[in-house]
Symmetry: C2
Subunit: 202 residues, 2 copies
C-alpha cells in the first residue's frame, strides 16, 4: 500500500510539472485500489487483534499499523486533490516556471519513503530524520504562498491559476504532515518514545 | 474531549465573525489540553486492549475510539488554523459581510455534535444523518470559493483577506470530513456496516 501511495504522490506532481495527462489518470486509477487496500488491511489488523490477543510489542505494532494505514489512505486522497488542480492547470498557460513545487515535492517524496522504510525496519533514527524535514516543508509552503500572492496582486488574470498552485503546495504539506504522523508512530514503536505534540523539543 | 473540541470549533468561528480576540485566545489555550487528552485516551485504550483482550463488540469499540480520538485531535488543530486566520482578519477592514461562513459553520457544528452523540448512543440512524450533510458542506465551500475569487479579481487589494477566508472555509470543510469519518466508524460499530469509500450508495 505504501508503494502505491508513493507512486500516486510522485505521479501527481509529475502530471502537473510535465503537463502529463496520462500520469494524472494513473493517480485517479490508483485511488480505488488504495481505498480497497485500506479496508482490507484494517479488517486484517482487527482480526489479528481479536484472534491472537497480542501483548506488548505486537499489540503496539498492530495499533500503529491501523493508524499508518489510515494516514496512507488520506495521502492517496491528497494526491488526487493535486491531480484535480493539475488537470485544470495543464489546460491553461503556465503562471510561472515551476521550481519551488518540484523542490517541495522532492522533499515530501523522501519523507514518505523514509517514514515507510523506518516502519518496515523499525528504525527510530530514520523516523527522527523525517520529523526534522517537516519544518523545511512548511518554509517552502510559506515561500510558495507569498510568491503566488505577489503574482495575483500584480496580475489578477493569474488569480485562479495561482490559487490552484497554492492548493497544490498545501496538499503537499498535508502529505508531509501524514508522513510526520507515521514517523511519530514508528518512533513510539521502535523506542517507546512518545514525541507527539512535542515538536519544540525535537 | 469531544466537548472541548466542539467548544474550540465554535469559538474559532465566533472569533472571526464577531471579531472577538478573547474567543481566539480560548481556542489557542484549548489546543494543549486537547493534545494532552489525545495522548491519555490513546494510552488508556491501548492499555485496555492489552489487559482485557476484548473480543468482538468491545474490540470494535476500542479500535473505533482510537480512530475517533485521532480525528478529534485533528479537528482541534483545524480550529487553531481558523483562529490564526481570524486573528489576521480582525485587524483589517472586512472584505464582505460574513453570511456563508456562519451558515457553513452552523452545519459543521451540528455534524460534530451529532457524530459524537451518535457514538455515545451507538445510534446508526444519527450517524447516517451526518454523512448526508457532507455534500451540503462541500457545496457551501465551493460557493464561498467562487464568491471570494470574484472579489479578488474585481479588487486585488482584497486578495490576502479573501485568501484567509477561503482557508477558513477549507478548514471548516476538513472538520466536516473528520465528523464524517467518525460517523462512518459509528455506523460500523452500531450496525456492522462498512460505508467507507462508498459515498455513491449512501
Amino acid at each position: 500500500m505504501g508503494g502505491v501511495v508513493e507512486f500516486a504522490i510522485r505521479q501527481s506532481v509529475h502530471a502537473l510539472v510535465d503537463r502529463d495527462e496520462a500520469a494524472a489518470q494513473d493517480v485517479l486509477r490508483s485511488e480505488a485500489r488504495i481505498n480497497q487496500m485500506e479496508i482490507e488491511i484494517d479488517d486484517f489488523a482487527v482480526r489479528l487483534l481479536a484472534r491472537h490477543q497480542p501483548m506488548a510489542k505486537d499489540l503496539r505494532f498492530l495499533t500503529a499499523a491501523i493508524k499508518i494505514n489510515n494516514d496512507l489512505e488520506r495521502m492517496g486522497d491528497l494526491a488526487v486533490n493535486i491531480v484535480e488542480r493539475a488537470l485544470s492547470l495543464i489546460r491553461q498557460p503556465p503562471v510561472k516556471p515551476l521550481i519551488d513545487i518540484p523542490q517541495m515535492s522532492k522533499l515530501v517524496d523522501s519523507m514518505v519513503r523514509n517514514c515507510l522504510d523506518a516502519f518496515v525496519k523499525r528504525d527510530g533514527q530514520m523516523a527522527r530524520g523525517v520529523l526534522l524535514s517537516d519544518d523545511a516543508v512548511d518554509d517552502l509552503r510559506d515561500a510558495i504562498y507569498e510568491e503566488l500572492v505577489g503574482f495575483m496582486k500584480r496580475d489578477p488574470t493569474t488569480i485562479s491559476r495561482s490559487l490552484d498552485l497554492i492548493f497544490v503546495a498545501r496538499n503537499l504539506e498535508r502529505i508531509a504532515d501524514h508522513a510526520t504522523n507515521i514517523a511519530e508512530d514508528v518512533l513510539f514503536l521502535a523506542q517507546g518514545i512518545d514525541v507527539r505534540h512535542h515538536a519544540e523539543s525535537r
